[in-house]
Protein backbone atom coordinates (compact mmCIF):
# COMPACT_ATOMS: atom_id res chain seq x y z
CA UNK A 1 0.00 0.00 0.00
CA UNK A 2 3.00 2.30 0.15
CA UNK A 3 3.07 3.34 -3.45
CA UNK A 4 3.66 6.85 -4.67
CA UNK A 5 0.58 9.00 -5.07
CA UNK A 6 -0.19 11.58 -7.69
CA UNK A 7 -0.17 15.21 -6.45
CA UNK A 8 -3.93 15.37 -6.86
CA UNK A 9 -4.46 12.26 -4.81
CA UNK A 10 -2.19 13.72 -2.17
CA UNK A 11 -4.25 16.89 -2.03
CA UNK A 12 -7.48 14.91 -1.64
CA UNK A 13 -5.86 12.79 1.03
CA UNK A 14 -4.72 15.84 2.99
CA UNK A 15 -8.22 17.26 2.74
CA UNK A 16 -9.79 14.07 4.08
CA UNK A 17 -7.27 13.85 6.90
CA UNK A 18 -7.84 17.47 7.87
CA UNK A 19 -11.62 17.01 8.06
CA UNK A 20 -11.21 13.79 10.02
CA UNK A 21 -8.88 15.56 12.44
CA UNK A 22 -11.56 18.04 13.53
CA UNK A 23 -13.38 15.84 16.07
CA UNK A 24 -10.03 14.85 17.57
CA UNK A 25 -8.63 18.33 17.96
CA UNK A 26 -11.68 20.52 18.45
CA UNK A 27 -12.71 19.18 21.91
CA UNK A 28 -9.27 19.79 23.37
CA UNK A 29 -9.08 23.19 21.71
CA UNK A 30 -12.52 24.11 23.02
CA UNK A 31 -11.71 22.84 26.49
CA UNK A 32 -8.57 24.93 26.80
CA UNK A 33 -9.96 28.11 25.27
CA UNK A 34 -13.23 27.90 27.21
CA UNK A 35 -11.35 27.53 30.46
CA UNK A 36 -9.99 31.01 29.74
CA UNK A 37 -13.43 32.51 29.13
CA UNK A 38 -15.83 34.01 31.66
CA UNK A 39 -18.77 31.65 32.26
CA UNK A 40 -21.12 33.87 30.25
CA UNK A 41 -19.02 33.44 27.09
CA UNK A 42 -18.77 29.64 27.20
CA UNK A 43 -22.16 29.17 25.62
CA UNK A 44 -22.00 32.13 23.29
CA UNK A 45 -23.56 31.18 19.97
CA UNK A 46 -21.85 30.83 17.57
CA UNK A 47 -18.99 29.58 19.75
CA UNK A 48 -15.92 31.80 20.04
CA UNK A 49 -12.86 30.00 18.76
CA UNK A 50 -10.66 32.33 20.77
CA UNK A 51 -11.65 33.81 24.12
CA UNK A 52 -12.83 37.39 23.66
CA UNK A 53 -12.06 38.26 27.28
CA UNK A 54 -9.27 35.87 28.30
CA UNK A 55 -8.79 35.49 32.03
CA UNK A 56 -6.97 33.10 34.31
CA UNK A 57 -9.37 33.30 37.26
CA UNK A 58 -10.63 29.78 36.71
CA UNK A 59 -7.17 28.30 37.12
CA UNK A 60 -6.73 30.05 40.42
CA UNK A 61 -10.14 28.83 41.58
CA UNK A 62 -9.21 25.24 40.77
CA UNK A 63 -6.62 25.26 43.50
CA UNK A 64 -8.75 27.22 45.92
CA UNK A 65 -11.72 24.91 45.72
CA UNK A 66 -9.95 21.57 45.94
CA UNK A 67 -6.56 20.35 47.12
CA UNK A 68 -5.92 19.96 43.43
CA UNK A 69 -2.14 19.72 43.61
CA UNK A 70 -2.46 16.95 46.14
CA UNK A 71 -5.03 15.17 43.99
CA UNK A 72 -2.73 15.47 41.02
CA UNK A 73 0.04 13.87 43.01
CA UNK A 74 -2.32 11.09 44.12
CA UNK A 75 -3.30 10.20 40.58
CA UNK A 76 0.29 10.35 39.43
CA UNK A 77 1.81 8.21 42.15
CA UNK A 78 -1.00 5.65 42.08
CA UNK A 79 -0.65 5.30 38.33
CA UNK A 80 3.13 4.92 38.61
CA UNK A 81 2.99 2.33 41.39
CA UNK A 82 0.30 0.41 39.54
CA UNK A 83 2.36 0.51 36.36
CA UNK A 84 5.53 -0.79 37.99
CA UNK A 85 3.63 -3.44 39.93
CA UNK A 86 1.71 -4.59 36.89
CA UNK A 87 4.89 -4.82 34.83
CA UNK A 88 6.44 -7.08 37.46
CA UNK A 89 3.43 -9.32 37.89
CA UNK A 90 2.52 -9.59 34.22
CA UNK A 91 6.07 -10.08 32.93
CA UNK A 92 6.63 -12.93 35.38
CA UNK A 93 3.41 -14.74 34.72
CA UNK A 94 3.39 -13.95 31.01
CA UNK A 95 6.84 -15.43 30.76
CA UNK A 96 5.89 -18.51 32.73
CA UNK A 97 2.80 -19.15 30.63
CA UNK A 98 4.79 -18.71 27.43
CA UNK A 99 8.00 -20.51 28.23
CA UNK A 100 7.85 -22.80 31.23
CA UNK A 101 6.08 -26.15 31.08
CA UNK A 102 4.27 -27.04 34.25
CA UNK A 103 1.32 -29.18 35.14
CA UNK A 104 -2.07 -27.50 34.85
CA UNK A 105 -0.58 -24.71 32.79
CA UNK A 106 -3.42 -24.40 30.31
CA UNK A 107 -6.11 -24.61 32.93
CA UNK A 108 -4.37 -22.01 35.07
CA UNK A 109 -3.95 -19.75 32.06
CA UNK A 110 -7.66 -19.96 31.35
CA UNK A 111 -8.39 -19.26 35.00
CA UNK A 112 -6.29 -16.13 34.88
CA UNK A 113 -7.64 -15.14 31.47
CA UNK A 114 -11.19 -15.32 32.79
CA UNK A 115 -10.36 -12.12 34.67
CA UNK A 116 -10.51 -10.35 31.30
CA UNK A 117 -14.17 -11.19 31.13
CA UNK A 118 -15.20 -9.75 34.43
CA UNK A 119 -15.95 -6.04 34.28
CA UNK A 120 -15.00 -4.22 37.44
CA UNK A 121 -18.62 -3.20 37.92
CA UNK A 122 -19.43 -6.85 38.58
CA UNK A 123 -17.18 -7.18 41.58
CA UNK A 124 -17.17 -3.70 43.03
CA UNK A 125 -19.62 -4.43 45.88
CA UNK A 126 -17.83 -7.49 47.28
CA UNK A 127 -14.47 -5.80 46.82
CA UNK A 128 -15.75 -2.90 48.82
CA UNK A 129 -16.78 -5.31 51.57
CA UNK A 130 -13.44 -7.10 51.53
CA UNK A 131 -11.41 -3.92 51.76
CA UNK A 132 -13.64 -2.71 54.51
CA UNK A 133 -12.88 -5.86 56.51
CA UNK A 134 -9.21 -5.08 56.03
CA UNK A 135 -9.75 -1.51 57.18
CA UNK A 136 -8.57 -0.14 53.86
CA UNK A 137 -11.57 1.96 52.84
CA UNK A 138 -10.65 5.55 52.08
CA UNK A 139 -7.07 4.57 51.43
CA UNK A 140 -5.31 4.15 48.10
CA UNK A 141 -4.70 0.44 48.63
CA UNK A 142 -7.76 -0.81 46.71
CA UNK A 143 -6.81 1.39 43.76
CA UNK A 144 -3.30 -0.07 43.81
CA UNK A 145 -3.79 -3.72 44.75
CA UNK A 146 -6.77 -4.56 42.57
CA UNK A 147 -5.27 -3.33 39.28
CA UNK A 148 -1.89 -4.95 39.96
CA UNK A 149 -3.16 -8.33 41.06
CA UNK A 150 -6.75 -8.46 39.83
CA UNK A 151 -8.61 -8.32 36.56
CA UNK A 152 -6.91 -5.24 35.02
CA UNK A 153 -3.47 -6.87 34.99
CA UNK A 154 -4.75 -9.85 33.05
CA UNK A 155 -4.64 -8.01 29.73
CA UNK A 156 -1.04 -7.12 30.53
CA UNK A 157 -0.20 -10.75 31.21
CA UNK A 158 -1.86 -11.74 27.96
CA UNK A 159 0.17 -9.18 26.00
CA UNK A 160 3.39 -10.31 27.68
CA UNK A 161 2.64 -13.96 26.99
CA UNK A 162 1.92 -13.29 23.33
CA UNK A 163 5.14 -11.34 23.07
CA UNK A 164 7.29 -13.99 24.72
CA UNK A 165 5.77 -16.65 22.46
CA UNK A 166 6.77 -14.58 19.44
CA UNK A 167 10.37 -14.27 20.69
CA UNK A 168 12.80 -16.84 19.31
CA UNK A 169 13.75 -19.15 22.15
CA UNK A 170 17.35 -19.95 21.14
CA UNK A 171 18.98 -17.25 23.22
CA UNK A 172 17.22 -18.39 26.35
CA UNK A 173 18.02 -22.01 25.69
CA UNK A 174 21.67 -21.09 25.28
CA UNK A 175 21.55 -19.27 28.58
CA UNK A 176 19.93 -22.28 30.24
CA UNK A 177 22.60 -24.55 28.85
CA UNK A 178 25.15 -22.15 30.35
CA UNK A 179 23.60 -22.96 33.71
CA UNK A 180 21.44 -19.94 34.30
CA UNK A 181 18.41 -20.57 36.47
CA UNK A 182 14.91 -19.73 35.36
CA UNK A 183 14.78 -16.40 37.07
CA UNK A 184 18.22 -15.38 35.85
CA UNK A 185 17.27 -16.37 32.30
CA UNK A 186 14.10 -14.36 32.58
CA UNK A 187 15.80 -11.37 34.15
CA UNK A 188 18.97 -11.24 32.08
CA UNK A 189 17.87 -12.56 28.71
CA UNK A 190 14.14 -12.47 28.14
CA UNK A 191 13.26 -9.24 29.91
CA UNK A 192 15.73 -7.00 28.07
CA UNK A 193 14.36 -8.33 24.79
CA UNK A 194 10.80 -7.57 25.79
CA UNK A 195 11.22 -3.84 26.09
CA UNK A 196 8.64 -3.00 23.38
CA UNK A 197 5.98 -5.13 25.05
CA UNK A 198 6.87 -3.73 28.47
CA UNK A 199 6.51 -0.25 27.02
CA UNK A 200 3.09 -1.05 25.64
CA UNK A 201 1.95 -2.60 28.91
CA UNK A 202 3.27 0.39 30.82
CA UNK A 203 1.28 2.79 28.64
CA UNK A 204 -1.90 0.73 28.80
CA UNK A 205 -1.63 0.36 32.53
CA UNK A 206 -0.77 3.95 33.26
CA UNK A 207 -3.72 5.19 31.19
CA UNK A 208 -6.08 2.68 32.75
CA UNK A 209 -5.19 3.76 36.25
CA UNK A 210 -5.19 7.43 35.25
CA UNK A 211 -8.75 7.05 33.88
CA UNK A 212 -10.30 5.06 36.74
CA UNK A 213 -13.57 6.65 37.77
CA UNK A 214 -15.97 4.20 39.37
CA UNK A 215 -13.43 2.76 41.82
CA UNK A 216 -12.25 6.05 43.31
CA UNK A 217 -15.78 7.32 43.80
CA UNK A 218 -16.68 4.12 45.59
CA UNK A 219 -13.55 3.69 47.70
CA UNK A 220 -12.46 7.23 48.54
CA UNK A 221 -14.29 9.89 50.47
CA UNK A 222 -11.70 12.42 51.65
CA UNK A 223 -10.87 15.20 49.15
CA UNK A 224 -7.17 15.00 50.04
CA UNK A 225 -7.19 11.41 48.83
CA UNK A 226 -9.22 11.91 45.65
CA UNK A 227 -7.82 11.17 42.25
CA UNK A 228 -8.15 13.50 39.28
CA UNK A 229 -11.20 12.08 37.43
CA UNK A 230 -13.08 12.11 40.70
CA UNK A 231 -11.92 15.63 41.51
CA UNK A 232 -13.08 16.83 38.09
CA UNK A 233 -16.69 16.14 38.94
CA UNK A 234 -16.35 18.03 42.23
CA UNK A 235 -16.17 21.51 40.81
CA UNK A 236 -19.70 22.54 41.68
CA UNK A 237 -20.97 25.29 43.87
CA UNK A 238 -22.50 24.52 47.24
CA UNK A 239 -25.71 23.33 45.63
CA UNK A 240 -24.40 21.29 42.78
CA UNK A 241 -24.49 24.01 40.17
CA UNK A 242 -21.52 23.35 37.91
CA UNK A 243 -18.75 25.93 37.68
CA UNK A 244 -18.10 25.41 34.03
CA UNK A 245 -14.95 27.38 33.47
CA UNK A 246 -13.37 26.07 36.64
CA UNK A 247 -14.27 22.52 35.70
CA UNK A 248 -12.82 23.05 32.23
CA UNK A 249 -9.68 24.59 33.70
CA UNK A 250 -9.25 21.53 35.90
CA UNK A 251 -9.91 19.25 32.92
CA UNK A 252 -7.29 21.15 30.93
CA UNK A 253 -4.78 20.80 33.74
CA UNK A 254 -5.51 17.08 33.80
CA UNK A 255 -5.19 16.59 30.07
CA UNK A 256 -2.48 18.97 28.91
CA UNK A 257 0.64 17.62 30.67
CA UNK A 258 -0.13 14.10 29.54
CA UNK A 259 -0.73 15.38 26.03
CA UNK A 260 2.59 17.21 26.05
CA UNK A 261 4.44 14.13 27.28
CA UNK A 262 2.65 12.15 24.61
CA UNK A 263 3.53 14.53 21.79
CA UNK A 264 7.18 14.54 22.82
CA UNK A 265 7.35 10.78 23.18
CA UNK A 266 4.71 9.89 20.61
CA UNK A 267 7.06 7.68 18.61
CA UNK A 268 7.79 5.45 21.60
CA UNK A 269 4.14 5.53 22.57
CA UNK A 270 2.64 4.56 19.29
CA UNK A 271 5.31 2.19 18.12
CA UNK A 272 5.51 0.59 21.54
CA UNK A 273 1.80 -0.10 21.42
CA UNK A 274 2.05 -1.42 17.89
CA UNK A 275 4.44 -4.11 19.08
CA UNK A 276 2.20 -5.55 21.72
CA UNK A 277 2.06 -8.91 20.06
CA UNK A 278 -1.63 -8.22 19.61
CA UNK A 279 -1.15 -9.10 16.01
CA UNK A 280 -2.36 -12.55 16.77
Amino acid sequence: MSRNLSPRAKLVLYGVLLVLAIPFVFPTWWMVTSSLKPVADIFAFPPQLLPAHPQLDAYQRVFELQPFGRQYLNSLYIALVVTVGTLAVSALSGYAFARIRFRGQNVLFLVVLAGLLIPSEVTIVPLFQMFFKLGLIDTHWPLILVPILGAPSVLATFIMRQFFISLPGELEEAARVDGLGRFATFWKVALPLSRPALGAVAIFTFLHSWNLYLEPIVFLSTPEKFTLPQALTQFVDAYGGPMWNVQLAAASLTALPVLVVFVIAQKQFVEGLAHTGLKG
Binding site: T123, L232, V263
Partner: protein, 316 residues
Protein backbone atom coordinates in the same frame (compact mmCIF):
# COMPACT_ATOMS: atom_id res chain seq x y z
CA UNK B 1 6.67 -9.08 48.60
CA UNK B 2 5.89 -12.08 46.56
CA UNK B 3 8.29 -10.84 43.88
CA UNK B 4 11.16 -10.98 46.34
CA UNK B 5 10.26 -14.54 47.21
CA UNK B 6 10.42 -15.51 43.61
CA UNK B 7 13.67 -13.78 43.05
CA UNK B 8 15.15 -15.64 45.99
CA UNK B 9 13.75 -18.90 44.70
CA UNK B 10 15.17 -18.25 41.28
CA UNK B 11 18.56 -17.14 42.49
CA UNK B 12 18.93 -20.17 44.70
CA UNK B 13 18.15 -22.52 41.92
CA UNK B 14 21.67 -22.87 40.49
CA UNK B 15 23.37 -23.85 43.80
CA UNK B 16 20.65 -26.45 44.33
CA UNK B 17 21.47 -27.82 40.93
CA UNK B 18 25.10 -28.15 41.90
CA UNK B 19 24.25 -30.55 44.70
CA UNK B 20 23.59 -34.15 43.78
CA UNK B 21 19.84 -34.06 43.16
CA UNK B 22 17.51 -36.27 45.08
CA UNK B 23 15.85 -38.74 42.74
CA UNK B 24 12.57 -36.84 42.38
CA UNK B 25 14.09 -33.38 42.43
CA UNK B 26 14.79 -33.24 38.71
CA UNK B 27 15.52 -30.08 36.80
CA UNK B 28 12.11 -30.51 35.26
CA UNK B 29 10.47 -30.38 38.65
CA UNK B 30 12.56 -27.43 39.60
CA UNK B 31 11.44 -25.69 36.46
CA UNK B 32 7.85 -26.52 37.29
CA UNK B 33 8.28 -24.95 40.68
CA UNK B 34 9.71 -21.84 39.05
CA UNK B 35 6.67 -21.76 36.80
CA UNK B 36 4.31 -21.89 39.76
CA UNK B 37 6.27 -19.22 41.59
CA UNK B 38 6.30 -16.98 38.54
CA UNK B 39 2.53 -17.10 38.17
CA UNK B 40 1.84 -17.08 41.91
CA UNK B 41 1.25 -13.33 42.33
CA UNK B 42 -1.11 -13.25 39.37
CA UNK B 43 -2.90 -16.43 40.35
CA UNK B 44 -3.34 -15.47 43.98
CA UNK B 45 -4.45 -12.03 42.87
CA UNK B 46 -7.01 -13.54 40.51
CA UNK B 47 -8.38 -15.79 43.20
CA UNK B 48 -8.54 -12.96 45.72
CA UNK B 49 -9.72 -10.05 43.58
CA UNK B 50 -11.60 -11.78 40.78
CA UNK B 51 -12.98 -15.17 41.81
CA UNK B 52 -13.67 -14.59 45.45
CA UNK B 53 -15.68 -11.42 44.65
CA UNK B 54 -17.42 -13.32 41.87
CA UNK B 55 -18.48 -16.06 44.29
CA UNK B 56 -19.63 -13.39 46.71
CA UNK B 57 -21.68 -11.77 43.95
CA UNK B 58 -23.42 -15.09 43.33
CA UNK B 59 -24.06 -15.33 47.04
CA UNK B 60 -25.48 -11.79 47.17
CA UNK B 61 -27.70 -12.51 44.18
CA UNK B 62 -29.57 -15.04 46.30
CA UNK B 63 -30.34 -12.44 48.93
CA UNK B 64 -32.47 -9.42 49.53
CA UNK B 65 -30.05 -6.95 51.01
CA UNK B 66 -31.46 -3.78 52.51
CA UNK B 67 -28.45 -1.61 53.15
CA UNK B 68 -30.15 1.05 55.22
CA UNK B 69 -32.06 -1.30 57.46
CA UNK B 70 -29.04 -3.60 57.67
CA UNK B 71 -30.99 -6.74 56.75
CA UNK B 72 -29.62 -9.52 54.57
CA UNK B 73 -32.26 -12.19 53.91
CA UNK B 74 -31.98 -15.32 51.84
CA UNK B 75 -34.55 -15.23 49.04
CA UNK B 76 -33.31 -18.04 46.80
CA UNK B 77 -33.96 -17.52 43.11
CA UNK B 78 -36.34 -14.57 43.63
CA UNK B 79 -33.94 -12.07 42.12
CA UNK B 80 -33.57 -14.24 39.04
CA UNK B 81 -37.29 -14.51 38.48
CA UNK B 82 -37.53 -10.76 39.04
CA UNK B 83 -34.96 -10.38 36.29
CA UNK B 84 -37.01 -12.48 33.92
CA UNK B 85 -40.06 -10.34 34.69
CA UNK B 86 -38.25 -7.00 34.64
CA UNK B 87 -40.12 -4.73 32.20
CA UNK B 88 -36.85 -2.91 31.53
CA UNK B 89 -34.97 -6.05 30.56
CA UNK B 90 -35.84 -5.84 26.87
CA UNK B 91 -34.96 -2.19 26.36
CA UNK B 92 -31.83 -2.58 28.44
CA UNK B 93 -30.55 -5.53 26.42
CA UNK B 94 -31.46 -3.71 23.22
CA UNK B 95 -29.49 -0.63 24.29
CA UNK B 96 -26.56 -2.80 25.31
CA UNK B 97 -26.55 -4.62 21.99
CA UNK B 98 -26.95 -1.43 20.01
CA UNK B 99 -24.10 0.24 21.84
CA UNK B 100 -21.75 -2.71 21.45
CA UNK B 101 -22.51 -3.29 17.79
CA UNK B 102 -22.39 0.42 17.02
CA UNK B 103 -19.14 0.89 18.86
CA UNK B 104 -17.42 -2.09 17.27
CA UNK B 105 -18.58 -1.22 13.75
CA UNK B 106 -17.73 2.49 13.92
CA UNK B 107 -14.56 1.96 15.88
CA UNK B 108 -13.10 -0.76 13.68
CA UNK B 109 -14.22 0.89 10.44
CA UNK B 110 -12.79 4.26 11.39
CA UNK B 111 -9.62 2.72 12.82
CA UNK B 112 -9.06 0.78 9.63
CA UNK B 113 -9.81 3.81 7.45
CA UNK B 114 -7.38 5.98 9.41
CA UNK B 115 -4.74 3.28 9.37
CA UNK B 116 -5.03 2.86 5.60
CA UNK B 117 -4.89 6.63 5.05
CA UNK B 118 -1.85 6.96 7.27
CA UNK B 119 -0.16 4.04 5.58
CA UNK B 120 0.16 6.04 2.36
CA UNK B 121 3.44 7.52 1.32
CA UNK B 122 2.73 11.04 2.44
CA UNK B 123 4.57 13.74 4.35
CA UNK B 124 3.16 14.63 7.75
CA UNK B 125 1.41 11.36 8.49
CA UNK B 126 3.15 11.37 11.86
CA UNK B 127 1.42 14.63 12.73
CA UNK B 128 -1.95 13.14 11.88
CA UNK B 129 -1.12 9.92 13.67
CA UNK B 130 -0.34 11.96 16.77
CA UNK B 131 -3.60 13.88 16.41
CA UNK B 132 -5.77 10.79 15.98
CA UNK B 133 -4.09 9.07 18.88
CA UNK B 134 -4.10 12.03 21.25
CA UNK B 135 -7.58 11.50 22.81
CA UNK B 136 -6.39 8.11 24.07
CA UNK B 137 -4.15 9.87 26.56
CA UNK B 138 -6.75 12.43 27.62
CA UNK B 139 -8.53 11.48 30.83
CA UNK B 140 -11.82 9.77 30.03
CA UNK B 141 -13.87 11.89 32.40
CA UNK B 142 -12.34 15.13 31.07
CA UNK B 143 -12.99 14.05 27.49
CA UNK B 144 -16.58 13.11 28.24
CA UNK B 145 -17.30 16.28 30.19
CA UNK B 146 -16.05 18.37 27.28
CA UNK B 147 -18.17 16.45 24.77
CA UNK B 148 -21.12 16.88 27.10
CA UNK B 149 -20.75 20.63 26.65
CA UNK B 150 -20.14 20.38 22.93
CA UNK B 151 -23.23 18.24 22.28
CA UNK B 152 -25.66 20.61 23.99
CA UNK B 153 -28.33 22.02 21.71
CA UNK B 154 -26.54 25.38 21.82
CA UNK B 155 -23.11 23.77 22.11
CA UNK B 156 -20.02 23.74 19.97
CA UNK B 157 -20.93 20.90 17.62
CA UNK B 158 -24.10 22.58 16.45
CA UNK B 159 -22.20 25.87 16.34
CA UNK B 160 -19.73 24.33 13.92
CA UNK B 161 -22.50 22.73 11.87
CA UNK B 162 -24.25 26.08 11.80
CA UNK B 163 -21.26 27.73 10.13
CA UNK B 164 -21.63 25.32 7.21
CA UNK B 165 -25.37 25.84 7.13
CA UNK B 166 -26.46 22.61 8.79
CA UNK B 167 -29.09 22.78 11.53
CA UNK B 168 -27.83 20.14 13.96
CA UNK B 169 -30.18 17.97 16.01
CA UNK B 170 -30.46 18.11 19.78
CA UNK B 171 -27.89 15.38 20.16
CA UNK B 172 -28.29 14.15 23.72
CA UNK B 173 -32.07 14.56 23.84
CA UNK B 174 -33.26 12.51 20.87
CA UNK B 175 -33.57 8.76 21.38
CA UNK B 176 -31.58 7.81 18.31
CA UNK B 177 -29.06 10.65 18.42
CA UNK B 178 -28.33 10.14 22.12
CA UNK B 179 -27.14 6.58 21.57
CA UNK B 180 -25.25 7.68 18.47
CA UNK B 181 -23.59 10.48 20.44
CA UNK B 182 -22.44 8.21 23.24
CA UNK B 183 -21.01 5.77 20.71
CA UNK B 184 -19.24 8.46 18.71
CA UNK B 185 -17.73 10.12 21.77
CA UNK B 186 -16.31 6.76 22.79
CA UNK B 187 -15.10 6.03 19.26
CA UNK B 188 -13.17 9.30 19.00
CA UNK B 189 -11.71 8.67 22.44
CA UNK B 190 -10.23 5.27 21.71
CA UNK B 191 -10.09 4.74 17.96
CA UNK B 192 -6.41 5.75 18.00
CA UNK B 193 -5.54 2.60 19.86
CA UNK B 194 -7.02 0.29 17.27
CA UNK B 195 -5.68 2.51 14.51
CA UNK B 196 -2.13 2.00 15.74
CA UNK B 197 -2.58 -1.74 15.97
CA UNK B 198 -3.97 -1.83 12.43
CA UNK B 199 -1.17 0.38 11.20
CA UNK B 200 1.40 -2.04 12.57
CA UNK B 201 -0.46 -4.94 10.97
CA UNK B 202 -0.65 -3.14 7.62
CA UNK B 203 3.06 -2.48 7.68
CA UNK B 204 3.55 -6.18 8.18
CA UNK B 205 1.83 -6.98 4.88
CA UNK B 206 4.56 -7.74 2.31
CA UNK B 207 4.67 -5.16 -0.50
CA UNK B 208 5.34 -7.86 -3.09
CA UNK B 209 1.78 -9.12 -2.71
CA UNK B 210 0.40 -5.77 -3.85
CA UNK B 211 2.91 -5.55 -6.64
CA UNK B 212 1.85 -8.94 -7.89
CA UNK B 213 -1.81 -7.96 -7.67
CA UNK B 214 -1.06 -4.75 -9.53
CA UNK B 215 0.49 -6.77 -12.31
CA UNK B 216 -2.68 -8.87 -12.43
CA UNK B 217 -4.66 -5.64 -12.82
CA UNK B 218 -6.59 -5.90 -9.55
CA UNK B 219 -8.20 -2.64 -8.43
CA UNK B 220 -7.22 -1.03 -5.15
CA UNK B 221 -10.55 -1.96 -3.62
CA UNK B 222 -10.09 -5.52 -4.68
CA UNK B 223 -6.55 -5.58 -3.31
CA UNK B 224 -7.84 -4.28 -0.03
CA UNK B 225 -10.50 -6.97 0.35
CA UNK B 226 -8.45 -9.80 -1.06
CA UNK B 227 -5.03 -9.09 0.38
CA UNK B 228 -5.16 -6.58 3.19
CA UNK B 229 -8.20 -7.77 5.11
CA UNK B 230 -7.30 -11.46 5.19
CA UNK B 231 -3.71 -10.73 6.18
CA UNK B 232 -4.62 -8.49 9.05
CA UNK B 233 -7.60 -10.60 10.15
CA UNK B 234 -5.89 -11.78 13.36
CA UNK B 235 -5.57 -8.15 14.40
CA UNK B 236 -9.18 -7.51 13.46
CA UNK B 237 -10.24 -10.40 15.64
CA UNK B 238 -8.24 -9.30 18.64
CA UNK B 239 -9.24 -5.66 18.42
CA UNK B 240 -12.85 -6.67 18.03
CA UNK B 241 -12.74 -8.89 21.12
CA UNK B 242 -11.14 -6.14 23.18
CA UNK B 243 -13.55 -3.55 21.83
CA UNK B 244 -16.63 -5.69 22.45
CA UNK B 245 -15.63 -6.59 25.98
CA UNK B 246 -14.72 -2.97 26.60
CA UNK B 247 -18.03 -1.79 25.15
CA UNK B 248 -19.94 -3.82 27.73
CA UNK B 249 -18.12 -1.97 30.50
CA UNK B 250 -18.98 1.56 29.39
CA UNK B 251 -19.97 3.55 32.43
CA UNK B 252 -18.45 6.99 32.88
CA UNK B 253 -19.58 8.10 29.42
CA UNK B 254 -23.22 7.23 30.06
CA UNK B 255 -23.10 8.61 33.59
CA UNK B 256 -21.74 11.95 32.40
CA UNK B 257 -23.55 12.34 29.07
CA UNK B 258 -27.08 10.93 29.30
CA UNK B 259 -27.66 9.18 32.65
CA UNK B 260 -29.35 6.47 30.65
CA UNK B 261 -31.87 8.75 28.90
CA UNK B 262 -33.79 9.98 27.09
CA UNK B 263 -36.36 7.47 28.22
CA UNK B 264 -34.25 4.40 28.78
CA UNK B 265 -32.65 4.56 25.35
CA UNK B 266 -29.06 4.60 26.60
CA UNK B 267 -29.53 2.55 29.76
CA UNK B 268 -27.03 -0.19 29.01
CA UNK B 269 -26.53 -3.19 31.26
CA UNK B 270 -23.66 -1.80 33.32
CA UNK B 271 -25.42 1.48 33.89
CA UNK B 272 -28.61 -0.35 34.88
CA UNK B 273 -26.56 -2.46 37.25
CA UNK B 274 -25.07 0.66 38.80
CA UNK B 275 -28.52 2.21 39.12
CA UNK B 276 -30.02 -0.85 40.75
CA UNK B 277 -27.19 -1.51 43.17
CA UNK B 278 -25.85 1.92 44.06
CA UNK B 279 -28.76 4.26 43.34
CA UNK B 280 -31.82 2.16 44.14
CA UNK B 281 -29.92 0.16 46.78
CA UNK B 282 -31.04 -3.20 45.39
CA UNK B 283 -27.70 -4.85 45.91
CA UNK B 284 -29.11 -8.34 45.60
CA UNK B 285 -30.71 -7.50 42.27
CA UNK B 286 -27.58 -5.64 41.19
CA UNK B 287 -25.59 -8.79 41.89
CA UNK B 288 -28.03 -10.73 39.74
CA UNK B 289 -27.43 -8.29 36.90
CA UNK B 290 -23.68 -8.77 37.42
CA UNK B 291 -24.17 -12.46 36.79
CA UNK B 292 -26.09 -11.66 33.60
CA UNK B 293 -23.31 -9.35 32.47
CA UNK B 294 -20.72 -12.01 33.18
CA UNK B 295 -22.74 -14.57 31.21
CA UNK B 296 -23.00 -12.26 28.20
CA UNK B 297 -19.29 -11.44 28.17
CA UNK B 298 -18.44 -15.11 28.48
CA UNK B 299 -20.78 -16.16 25.69
CA UNK B 300 -19.54 -13.44 23.34
CA UNK B 301 -15.92 -14.29 23.91
CA UNK B 302 -16.46 -17.98 23.32
CA UNK B 303 -18.40 -17.13 20.17
CA UNK B 304 -15.70 -14.85 18.81
CA UNK B 305 -13.00 -17.32 19.68
CA UNK B 306 -14.88 -19.98 17.77
CA UNK B 307 -15.34 -17.68 14.81
CA UNK B 308 -11.64 -17.10 14.50
CA UNK B 309 -11.34 -20.56 12.98
CA UNK B 310 -13.74 -19.57 10.24
CA UNK B 311 -12.47 -16.26 9.08
CA UNK B 312 -9.03 -15.61 10.41
CA UNK B 313 -6.62 -16.18 7.61
CA UNK B 314 -3.68 -17.61 9.48
CA UNK B 315 -2.71 -18.39 13.03
CA UNK B 316 0.77 -17.84 14.29
Amino acid sequence: MSQTDIRVGGAQAPPTAARPPRPWWTSRRRDQLAGYLFIAPQLIGSLLFVFLPLVLVVWYSLHEWNVLAGTFDFVGPDNYSALADDPNLGSMLRATGLFSVGLVVFNLALALLLAVLLNQRLRGTIVFRTIFFSPVVVSLVAWTIVWGFLLQDNGGVNGLLDTIGVDGPNWLRGEGTAMFSVIIVQVFKNVGLNMVLFLAALQGVPAELYEAAEVDGASRMRQFWRITVPLISPTILLTSIITVVGSLQVFAQIAVLTQGGPGTSTTVLVYYLYQQAFQFHHFGYGATLSILLFGIVLALTVLQWQMRKRWVFHES
